[in-house]
């Protein structure tokens, strides 16, 4: 029994999800509410279960997974973010036509997969976690079966995702073929024996390409805007938050633990992906008229900044990645909660940026919250989104990558333009047709909490969050 203690969070989630699946199957539409709330409770329970054994158990199951503080930090972001994705969807899917209860179950399975991703310390568990997360995600993207866009998004995501998985598997097989081991420690030892062979380099590149797809880093980002636009908004919100964290953290652990001796090999790839993501994410957003597409480019852009921290390397770099992703998730969830709130008079969701016109006059509270998320995503002080950007640049400069930092920070200026465009539409344009008034106290409370966290008051969190991310990053080295 003691062997399983470190896996308590995963056990809670997978057993709970299986049971809930049965409940969903037998209660049908009637059980949607209860299943959703039970799923939220399970996720919160799993988060609570992170305290204790899982944060210091070390390698488990012959090193398949490592339950350290790094993994716990990642899951402490992922589980609550998944819970928010369930809460936000509650009341979104019309009860009559959709299988609302299965949505929560799929999110739970995806959360288990992401939990495995952040704790994986072997190529096998890496792949299993990633696929578990992805398979659930494919279904979620096409969740609104009758909607063509949603079906298209699901199909696109699946085909491209399968391609990426293939690339990843090919890379894994190369790495295994040339080193004879699957574990990250074994890989590190193999790379440590002098200059890596061509086969190893190919394996490394393919694996990183597969991970870049999941993190939607340029040049493997093409699916992002289409899938974000087509998928139902709560699902888009989910895609934008937890899976990004899982993918970036997985890449961090793989690079720092498994590929540490080959740092020179992967660093240039990461630097390219970081800068390309920042600039393409910023430039690509310019002409967008759909808020979800715009936020898709925003997430590409933000992943680029997180990768700067990874490129910087060292404890400080890894710590800045963790800090960045933690704040990024809050900003993204907040922004998407606002998007979820956009409905016309008949209650149909609207997604055009133009529909936000003059919101500051018709719905000031909402406009203020939304603009806070935009300023924060743009990284403009005094909003808290500035601080994680500062940390990744500090890490980059600390490692001597000044040119990288300069290029990256100029990217924030370009990016600031389109975030400001949304703010301009809300504050400076004449009011358009107002949105319907909806009564969603829980969603409103979540928006409020997120807005306060990324407001200047967030600076009070620096001490705590900074110490945690430092210790979590320290557990990698």
């Amino acid at each position: 029994m003691g062997r399983f203690a470190p896996l308590l969070p995963e056990l809670i989630l997978s057993i709970g999800a299986t049971v809930l699946m049965m409940v969903a199957a037998f209660t049908g539409r009637r059980g949607a509410g209860i299943v959703s709330w039970l799923a939220v409770i399970l996720l919160l329970g799993a988060t609570a279960a992170l305290v204790g054994a899982p944060s210091h158990a070390g390698p488990v199951f012959d090193g398949l997974v490592t339950e350290d503080l790094f993994a716990s930090f990642g899951r402490a972001i992922i589980y609550p973010a998944s819970a928010v994705a369930i809460i936000a969807a509650y009341g979104w899917f019309e009860r009559g036509t959709e299988h609302a209860s299965e949505y929560a179950v799929l999110i739970l399975f995806s959360a288990v997969g992401m939990g495995v991703m952040v704790s994986a310390s072997s190529l096998v568990s890496l792949y299993v976690g990633l696929e578990l997360q992805s398979l659930a995600a494919y279904v979620l993207a096409s969740y609104r079966r009758t909607d063509e866009r949603s079906a298209e998004a699901g199909l696109k995501y699946f085909v491209l995702g399968a391609l990426a998985s293939g690339i990843l598997l090919y890379g894994i097989s190369l790495l295994y073929g040339f080193t004879g081991t699957m574990s990250f420690n074994g890989l590190a030892a193999a790379f440590g024996r002098g200059a890596p062979s061509l086969g190893l380099l190919f394996g490394l590149v393919f694996v990183l390409a597969g991970l870049a797809f999941k993190a939607s880093a340029v040049p493997f980002h093409m699916w992002t805007p289409d899938v974000y636009e087509g998928a139902p908004t709560p699902v888009t919100m989910f895609f934008g938050s937890a899976p990004k964290v899982a993918a970036v953290l997985l890449a961090t652990r793989l690079c720092v633990e498994g590929l540490a001796p080959a740092t020179d090999a992967w660093r240039q790839i990461v630097i390219f992906a970081a800068l390309a993501s920042i600039f393409l994410g910023a430039v690509g957003a310019f002409g967008q008229t759909n808020i979800k597409r715009l936020l898709a480019y925003s997430s590409i852009n933000n992943v680029g900044f997180a990768l700067i921290g990874l490129a910087a390397g060292g404890t400080r770099g890894a710590s800045s990645v963790l800090f960045y992703m933690a704040v990024y998730v809050v900003m993204t969830l907040g922004a998407f909660l606002c998007v979820l709130w956009m409905r016309d008079e008949d209650g149909r969701p609207v997604e055009s940026i133009a529909s936000l016109s003059g919101l500051a006059q018709t719905r000031p509270g909402f406009a203020w919250a939304f603009s806070a998320f935009m300023w924060s995503l743009a990284g403009i002080p005094p909003f808290f989104g500035f601080w994680p950007k500062l940390l990744v640049f500090r890490a980059a400069i600390g490692s001597g990558y000044i040119a990288l930092a300069v290029a990256g920070i100029l990217g924030t200026v370009i990016g600031a333009y389109y975030y400001m465009k949304i703010i301009k539409v809300m504050f400076m344009d004449e009011p358009a047709k107002p949105f319907a008034r909806t009564r969603q106290p829980i969603q409103a409370a979540l928006i409020l909490v997120a807005a306060v966290a990324i407001s200047p008051l967030g600076y009070l969190l620096i001490q705590g969050l900074g110490t945690l991310s430092d210790r979590a990053a320290g557990s990698l080295f």
Binding site: P382, L390, F427, Y459
Partner: protein, 513 residues
């Protein structure tokens, strides 16, 4: 006990009064917001006067210090020296005037407007009193947000473009400064501004650090050729926005040079003196000529701001006492005078809703009070002895002359051109015949407008007649800066016979006291 706490947190209180008042404004009616803003800014002004009285010019360099860690190596560290003190007083003085100038002119979304204004007030106060590198950056950069809204929501026809231009220009300059700050914090291991002012960075690094800070401050000040955001922003902004932009926000650039560039990178600064002189020389001549042909009153005053700011850079990079003290006085004087000129433009704009110079003329007949005050400020802007700008410009010219004759030639040309465009403006607006019936029907200054302009006029004369009140608090700080620069000051090319020069200098300097 409470008194003691207040005494040790004066600067925090200075920042939080407008911040809290700004939050209150959002929840009250339009007139409630106006009064809240007025009371808060007056309170802040009273507090700043108290600071001025309490400030001991012979005391330690940093006074009213307080510090509390925020985390991540950043401290809520505040403290001021004489230079910051004067700029804080200037800000606190102009703020209630801005609120008053918006009393009638702003009719839509008043609570929001007042909220942004007070937020900006707080952030500017924070920038001048921050003693932590990153805290300064947060305040400095955060000040863009309220200004973006003020221009973008309450501005003129082209307001959106102007607000973007203002924001992105300034942001692009500032982010390079952030990189430099991160490097400085990493190399020296401290983020405390006083500690960094005594830290010697390697010479090679100083070059890049100076350029990075220059990118930020040159845009903010603004210097030619990165001044192009300023005319747009000024023309589109509401009157009070222009006042605060010209009066205070531009001073952040000059303050940045004094606080960061000169003491932290003396070698870097000395290396770029020729560049700075050339840019300032071009600015002073070119923008004066541009001002001469403007048809739009606000644009003219905006270009004159760029020209006046060139005296600041001339003075600062002359790296001698006259130059630096002169630069500070130019900043203070220009803060008052350009603010007042924008208010004067606002007065007639509120009546006729046009800024076309041709639509006015002969206002001296029907608006004698206005013509009088406008003349005072025109003369001050020209630099007439007895007004604030004379002292500053004269000192900064002496300083420049001691450093470089050629630079002084360019700078003095600016004085002549400055007289030309300002007097030409005044002549076209106030003298001549009342050609337009609607302009002739305009009433003279109201009581409210007198209350806005008269205090500035008094301050202008005070500074012109007894500048010692303003030089005294900063004398010791300028001295400390000069000690820091001593090593790198280049010898000037004006080969003055030393004894005569020394005597002459002494007399000039003494005369201004």
């Amino acid at each position: 006990m409470i008194a003691g706490w207040i005494q040790s947190h004066l600067l925090s209180i200075l920042i939080f009064i407008p911040l809290i008042a700004g939050a209150i404004c959002l929840f009250v009616s339009a007139s409630g917001a106006r009064w809240t803003a007025l009371v808060a800014t007056l309170l802040d002004f009273a507090l700043s006067i108290y600071l001025w009285v309490q400030y001991n010019p012979d005391g330690p360099q940093w006074q009213f210090q307080e510090s509390a860690p925020i985390g991540g190596g950043v401290n809520w560290a505040l403290g001021i020296d004489g230079i910051a003190l004067l700029l804080i007083v200037l800000t606190a003085f102009l703020m209630p005037i801005c609120i008053g100038a918006s009393w009638r002119a702003i009719e839509k979304r008043v609570p929001e407007y007042m909220g942004y204004f007070l937020l900006m007030d707080a952030l500017i106060m924070g920038s001048f009193s921050a003693q932590d590198l990153f805290l300064f950056y947060i305040f400095f950069e955060g000040g863009l947000i309220p200004m973006y809204f003020i221009i973008g929501i309450w501005g003129g026809a082209e307001r959106i473009k102007a607000s973007y231009k203002f924001f992105l220009y300034t942001l692009a300059g500032s982010v390079l400064m952030l990189i430099a700050m991160l490097y400085m914090a990493g190399t020296s291991g401290t983020t405390s501004i006083p500690a960094l002012m005594a830290y010697d960075f390697p010479k090679s690094a100083q070059t890049f650090l100076f350029l990075a800070f220059l990118a930020s401050f040159a845009v903010k000040l603004p210097m030619w050729p990165v001044h192009t955001w300023l005319p747009d922003a000024h023309v589109q902004a509401p009157t009070a926005g222009s006042v605060i932009l010209a009066g205070v926000l531009l001073k952040l650039g000059g303050y940045g040079f004094i606080r960061f560039s000169l003491p932290m990178f003396p070698d870097g600064s000395a290396q770029f003196i020729p560049l700075l002189f050339v840019l300032s020389g071009i600015a002073v001549v070119y923008t004066s000529l541009v001002a001469l042909v403007q048809r739009d009153m606000k644009k003219l005053v905006a270009y004159s701001s760029v020209a006046h700011m060139a005296f600041v850079t001339f003075g600062l990079f002359a790296m001698n006492r006259q130059g630096i003290e002169g630069a500070m006085l130019v900043m203070l004087g220009h803060g008052l005078v350009s603010g007042a000129l924008f208010l004067c433009v606002g007065v007639v704009y509120d009546r006729l809703h046009t800024r076309e110079i041709d639509r006015y003329g002969g206002l001296a007949d029907n608006m004698p009070g206005y013509a009088l005050l406008f003349m005072v400020f025109t003369m001050a802007s020209v630099g007439l002895p007895g007004t604030s700008n004379f002292v500053g410009e004269f000192l900064s010219l002496i300083g420049t002359y001691r450093a470089s004759t050629w630079a002084a030639i360019a700078a003095t040309t600016g004085i002549i051109l400055g007289a030309a465009y300002m007097l030409y403006l005044y002549w076209r607006i106030c003298f001549g015949t009342l050609r337009h019936a609607d302009a002739a029907a305009m009433p003279d200054l109201s009581v409210r407008e007198w209350w806005l302009l008269a205090p500035i006029a008094l301050a202008v004369f005070w500074m012109g007649i007894y500048p010692e009140s303003f030089i005294r608090p900063m004398r010791a700080d300028v001295g400390r800066l000069l000690t820091r620069l001593e090593r790198v000051v280049p010898t000037g090319d004006s080969h003055i016979v030393v004894p005569t020069m020394a005597n002459g200098m002494h007399m000039d300097h003494g005369a201004t006291h």
